[in-house]
């Protein structure tokens, strides 16, 4: 049967949308602009998590190593150690958990410095994900927006938003819907790292706290949703995995850009879930 009418769905929510969904085990897929390069915003924390695990698998780092992160100089952000006021000492893997569960920028930048962004990019190329690149840390990403707009957050003036390098896939962390869902598929099939590390990554991604995007499309006790969001002015995304009670599982990546620059757009968040549900429903027919 023909693919669902994603264009109409996205436009009634006031956004443009791109997506890719695939049955993790059969490979059956559905896409809508699946190969368009798009900014990942915080979803870059997923490839960072994968490289972190691979270095742990290779013995290059010990995930239980404790690091002390001073209060001064921490990357800014609304959650995790970015939002905390005092010096913290945490293990590397607990930083990784905060980076995924609450999208903590402070934890992400500590790990990115430890792992190295070139290592992340080398890993992505080795996995065949040539459209996915990590160019910026969270702090660089936030600084660029302040520089481009000429003022600090919030960025709601359409002219400011139009200037942001953070929204230009050539100049910021980028991927495509297909490659984000492919990366999640590899994590769920134990291909991205060792089986033990993949299981730990799945558990961390399942602990993500946000219910308003991907998970909102599957409001059912017997359906599991794991994922990682990404947000920048007018950009709302989430990639993840939806697991059905019959054991079938689907990797889904949905990217949206809203026409309006308003920060609060619940419908734009929810359409990510609705589109994912339509895509999964399509794959199950």
């Amino acid at each position: 049967m023909s693919a669902p009418d994603f264009d109409t769905l996205f436009s009634t929510a006031g956004v443009r949308g791109w997506l890719h969904a695939a049955d993790i085990d059969s490979g059956r897929e559905v896409g809508h602009g699946a190969d368009v390069p798009l900014p990942t915003a915080s979803m870059f924390k997923v490839p960072l998590l994968v490289e972190f695990c691979r270095q742990a698998d290779a013995g290059l780092l010990d995930p239980s190593d404790r690091v002390t992160v001073p209060a001064a100089g921490r990357s800014s952000g609304p959650t995790g150690i970015s939002a905390m006021l005092d010096e913290v000492t945490l293990s590397l893997r607990d930083l990784a958990y905060l980076m995924i569960a609450v999208s903590d920028n402070g934890s992400a930048d500590v790990l990115l410095a430890r792992v190295g962004r070139e290592a992340v990019n080398t890993m992505l190329a080795a996995l065949g994900l040539h459209g996915t690149r990590v160019l910026q840390s969270c702090q660089e990403f936030n600084d660029s927006m302040r520089e481009d707009a000429g003022h600090p957050w919030p960025f709601v003036d359409p002219d400011d938003v139009a200037r942001l390098r953070a929204l230009d896939p050539e100049r910021t962390n980028r991927s495509t819907p297909r490659e984000m869902s492919a990366l999640f598929g590899m994590i769920w099939r134990d291909e991205a790292a060792s089986a033990e590390s993949c299981a730990w990554m799945r558990a961390a991604l399942n602990k993500q706290v946000w219910p308003h995007r991907l998970a909102s499309g599957f409001p059912y006790d017997d359906v599991a949703v794991s994922g990682k969001t990404g947000t920048a002015p007018t950009l709302r995304t989430e990639s993840g995995v939806v697991e059905y009670p019959d054991g079938r599982r689907y990797a889904v990546a949905v990217f949206t850009r809203s026409f309006s620059t308003a920060l609060n757009q619940p419908r734009a968040d929810a359409v990510i879930g609705t589109a994912a549900r339509m895509a999964v429903d399509h794959l199950r027919r």
Binding site: N206, D222, V223, P245
Partner: protein
Amino acid sequence: MDLVRHLRYFTVVAEELHFGNAAIRLGMAQPPLSQRIKRLEEELGVRLFDRSARQVRLTDAGRLLLGEAREIVARVDRLHELARQGQGTVLKVGVPPDLAPAAIAALVAGFREIKPEVRLAPAEIWTADQVTALAEGTIDVGLVRHPVSAPGLEYGRILVQAQGVLLAEDDPLTAVGEVHLADLAGRELLMPPKEGEPGLHAQVLSECRRHGFVPTQVHQGAGLGLVLAGAAVAFGPKAELPGLAWRPLLGSPIMSRVSTAWRVATASVNEVIGDFSAVAVRTLKERAGMTDEGAVPARRISRRPGMLA
């Protein structure tokens, strides 16, 4: 001439209004059929069909005699049927009134094939009434819905079938390929009568609540009028019915479980009951999409941080 046989040919030709088609239905060649109709016309002294036009038409006399001919053929059939029944045992069977008509027909036909000497007397009875009827000996064997608990009954192999949901075809929920019970929240539900199917009622409603669907009202009945009107939804096996749409239920939470049941003490017809059970299992699998009961999958509740925060 064998008047009854000729009248049977007449009724078939009158239904088909085409000698070729009628001959195929009767399993004979067309020329002898034409010949026999001609002989019948001679016998009765009237023309039954008007063959002058390109199509075959009943004449006025033919139309007048057709009803009478049908009556005669039906009565003769009934006479033979009664004569057959007088010879053999009768097995009185209870089946749920909402069992698919095709399944009931296949059940009767399948049983007649292996036990032509036993006449099957089926009656439509809900599970609870079947239990009573079995105890009283009003029926010999039943086809019951589980869970059912009754002392002194034995059960055949349990067959299961995942139930889907029947919706009015213009229901917005038909846009998805699969419906979750939680999606039905706020709707009314049509179920078989609670008195007739108490076990089914309790089990289905508890599954519904567990999955986020508390029907605002539970209607009781076997007809699907309320569903057709868009006033309620109903659970059932896959069906293509005009005006209705069927969708599978995500996670298969509602399972229909049926088996044959009989009284432990019905030794006299035990062998026949065994035959009937075997036919029932085969027919329900082949014709009603049922399968052997497997291990019940463990219910999994997905954990989301928001549930605990």
